[in-house]
Amino acid sequence: MDQQELIPHLFRTEYSKIIAVLCSHFGINYIEVAEDIVSDTFLTAAELWGIKGIPENPAAWLYTVAKNKTRNYLKRHQLFEKKIVTDFKNQPMDTDPDIDLSTTAIADSQLAMIFTVCHPSVSEEAQIALALSLLCGFGVQEIADAFLTNKETVYKRLKRAKEKLREENIAIAPPSVRMVAERMETVLTTLYLLFNEGYYSVSGDHPLKKDCCMEAMRLCLLLLGNPLTDTPATNALMALMCFHASRFEARTNSKGEIILYEDQDTRLWNKDLVEKGIFYLNCAANGSQLSKFHLEAGIAYWHTHPEDNKEKWEAILQLYNKLLMLEYTPVAALNRTYALAKANSIEEAIAEAEKLQLTDNHFYFVLLGTLYEHLDPIKAKTLLQTAKEIARSESDRQLIQKKIAELGEKH
């Protein structure tokens, strides 16, 4: 890896670690101070490494420089004596604080940060933006790309979220039994949304998409590393992510276009990830709690089976039935209807689909078009054209156009 690639790579892997440790040290009021110090550290690296060459252990170099910068900052601003000590009266006075950047300390700090970011006072949208920024080291522009919005919006969203955390005076602390009870669901949902942002996002193909998913999995592993947060639902979420991630290589072609599930080359499905998923799904079977992650992991598990038989689709249908009884989402309703066509009959699925009336959702018309494909190709084409008209992204329009063209070839 040359310097051109190394710094962005280290930024991705180390930025959030140092941020987490510094934030845990300073407290929530000084997130921006921590961000400034770490950004400045990377700036120094970019300048110095260009002249002097890359140090032997770049990550360790960054840690040392970040520590020194923190020390200088504290001395210069006498922040430690004036503010932090009064905030944390019980802590010993120390003008030369020991910033612990060991692997354990990093893991503990990041776990604490996950729980801070996922505080219920912060809106869901802002939680994901904060998670991407503070936990995954994504830049404002990158977050803007992921959300299909501009830098200003993301910047404002992050600023508001940080203000909110300050107002509520949320402590950055290792999760306690009570915090786990109160926030675990939000934590898992945030990681789930983070993963989905990468996996299903409308904003087309972007190398960041995969990073988003990998980061969600890394944070989920962090949760599994702590006995308090290693819950059946966490294991189920990890299983779900492994099963989905197993199709990463198969779901896009060389041009970066999405390949639909039924058209994928199953040889490209990653067997190791499927096995890991099964391992976590078994771990998730402890206890009596059945979360939506259990059901979704079950659905994802069946999708790792390449066969197209009734048994598979019947299992998927029943899992979707249960999922919908637990929580309604339009996506689950549409997918359930597709499974109904496969497990029961197309006629029954059409009758059920027409009851859904999700007429502002282009996937609704894609589903109807798919169901009518053989029964009434002309109607199917009209439905797909409606889907194309209301589709919101270029990649979706391309996919639908492809389906229309295929329909024309067959009939």
Partner: protein, 113 residues
């Protein structure tokens, strides 16, 4: 949107005597029916299935076994759905698999008071 209680009644004692395959196929029909209501976002409460048998208590500490001494049909379960009108709720109730075992559905609007 209003909430409607759907009460399912059937001869569940007789029903339980059916073959395991028949019972499983009925379970699937129930799951598919309720799943379909949930897919329309019209399931307010998935409700509960009731065990057969029970006690009825009347004034004067009169306790009797089961609500079904005289009638064969007993309450087997309930769900709550949310629809715009009782007609829409009835339309949904028409799809219930309970009729296949000779049962009935009672649709009642839940009073907000």
């Amino acid at each position: 949107m209003k909430d409607f209680l759907l009460l399912f009644r059937a001869d569940y004692v007789e029903y339980a005597k059916r073959s395991p395959e028949e019972l499983q196929s009925m379970t699937k029909k129930w799951m598919d029916w309720i799943g379909g209501i949930a897919a329309q976002n019209k399931l307010a409460d998935r409700g509960n299935r009731l065990e057969t048998g029970g006690r009825v208590i009347r004034s004067g500490n009169m306790i009797t076994d089961g609500p079904f001494c005289e009638i064969k049909e007993s309450l087997g379960g309930y769900i709550v759905i949310k629809t715009a009108s009782i007609d829409e709720a009835t339309e949904i109730a028409l799809g219930c698999p309970v009729y296949q075992i000779g049962g009935s559905v009672e649709v009642r609007e839940i009073s907000l008071m």
